[in-house]
């Protein structure tokens, strides 16, 4: 076998192996998307009921709470960025990071100091590489976040917002995550989580202008709101974590699908080249034999004379 042909054969073998791996990863990601979507759906009733309850307290009483009142001058904001632990997901992480950087830039232009909180190894690596300050980070659960993980993430954020800005607390909390729109579309977006605007929450809870009943609060409206708001923030963070996970798996599936397709194309091109090389080799061999025998015939014809 000629050297050229051997090189092609070897490359075809290696690309075939890669294709098998990416195909497997694609199928794993596809099954995980479905699982993640199911988790998003399972967490919806809790989130809905909680939103309703928050609206009920917000509209049914004139209670003031640090988590709902807008500070007059916002000096410091917290940005929570949700990325994934592992890559191989196309532009998933870079889109989220880009969105966070745009938001940070905008907030800084408004004269606010920005504290960054990060979930996921990818985002953390990005910030560490550029030696930017990260207030706190969490890794290790982005593929399958649980409610306990969301609580873990929410706790220091709620603590920071309850503190005064002068003591190192923050006045606002923004969250940057990737919304799972569909299997094909996931968009990185930023939302202001706190302070909570009750009007917006009310719109979400009762879009058709439904009137909420007058509740009897047990033990009191303030206590209920006190207990309710941290739970609401946790559930929002949980929802964002779940959507990010679903988006990540969908992005991985898409990236792996195109990798598989590209590997298939590469194999096709390489096979063509290998065939051409084989054919060229055969042609060369034939012409060598023909040439050789012609030379021999010429030589023997010469000696006869």
């Amino acid at each position: 076998m000629g050297a050229q042909l051997r090189v092609y054969k070897r490359r075809i073998r290696s690309v075939t192996a890669t294709k098998k791996i990416t195909k497997a990863m694609e199928m794993i990601a596809a099954s995980r998307v479905v699982k993640a979507q199911r988790k998003v759906a399972a967490s919806t009733p809790y989130a809905q009921e909680l939103t309703r309850a928050v609206t009920a307290v917000g509209t049914g009483s004139n209670t003031k709470h640090p988590l709902t009142t807008q500070a007059e001058t916002v000096t410091r904001s917290a940005v929570l960025l949700l990325t994934s632990d592992r890559g191989l997901a196309g532009a998933f992480n870079s889109n989220a990071i880009k969105a966070a950087e745009l938001l940070t830039e905008r907030l800084e232009r408004e004269g606010k100091q920005v504290d960054t909180y990060i979930v996921g190894r990818r985002g953390l690596a990005h910030y560490n590489f550029r030696e930017r300050k990260v207030s706190e980070s969490w890794t290790g659960f982005t593929d399958e976040p649980t409610y306990a993980d969301a609580k873990k993430v929410a706790a220091p954020l709620i603590e920071a917002i309850e503190k005064d800005a002068a003591d190192g607390g923050v006045d606002e909390l923004h969250i940057v995550f990737t919304e799972f729109v569909s299997m094909m579309t996931q968009t990185a977006l930023d939302q202001r989580l706190l302070p909570l605007s009750l009007e917006e929450v009310a719109k979400e809870a009762a879009p058709k202008g439904e009137i909420l009943p007058l509740y009897d609060f047990e033990p009191s409206a303030e206590d209920v709101l006190d207990a309710l708001l941290p739970r609401y923030v946790e559930s929002r963070i949980y929802n964002a974590l779940l959507q990010s996970a679903a988006s990540k798996h969908a992005a991985t599936r898409r990236a792996m699908k195109s990798a598989t397709d590209n590997a298939g194309e590469l194999i096709e091109t390489l096979s063509r080249l290998a065939n051409a090389a084989r054919q060229a080799e055969i042609t060369q061999e034939i012409s060598e034999i023909v040439g050789g025998s012609a030379a021999l015939a010429d030589a023997s014809a010469g000696s006869d004379r």
Binding site: A42, S43, Y46, A56, F217, E218, P219, D223, L228, E234
Partner: protein, 124 residues
């Protein structure tokens, strides 16, 4: 037909139980509260404790609920809990082990959680 109310017991990551009931007893921060159909709209903070639901078929559902809220309006009752387990889902041996461990480590909240689980399991 006796009056009924619709109950939904939801944990953060799933719906634990839902159905028709005639009476729900839960523990709020200011004491036990019983809700029957036609109760005035209510929103309360729950303590860790067992929740008893008397279903319209005459059965009883007991669940261990750890923190959360009870809200009732329009004959619909929702129990929101971060963690909720039905009594027949509770692994008694595991709960007992957890109780002993919590006692030896003097972890008051873990002890209370395990205790609530055992009480809910005992009531089934």
């Amino acid at each position: 037909m006796a009056a009924e109310l619709h109950v939904a017991l939801v944990a953060a990551d799933r719906e634990v139980w839902s159905g028709q009931a005639t009476l729900v007893v839960a523990r709020t921060t200011s004491g036990d509260i019983g809700v029957m159909p036609g109760h005035q709209p209510l929103l309360g903070v729950l303590e860790s404790g067992p929740v008893t639901i008397r279903t319209s078929e005459g059965g009883t559902v007991v669940a261990a609920v750890h923190g959360g809220f009870i809200s009732f309006a329009d004959n619909k009752l929702s129990l929101l809990a971060e963690i909720a387990e039905l009594s027949d889902e509770i692994d008694i041996q595991r709960a007992e082990r957890a109780l002993e461990r919590a006692k030896s480590e003097a972890d008051a909240s873990a002890e209370r959680r395990a205790d609530v689980r055992l009480r809910a399991a005992a009531a089934r």
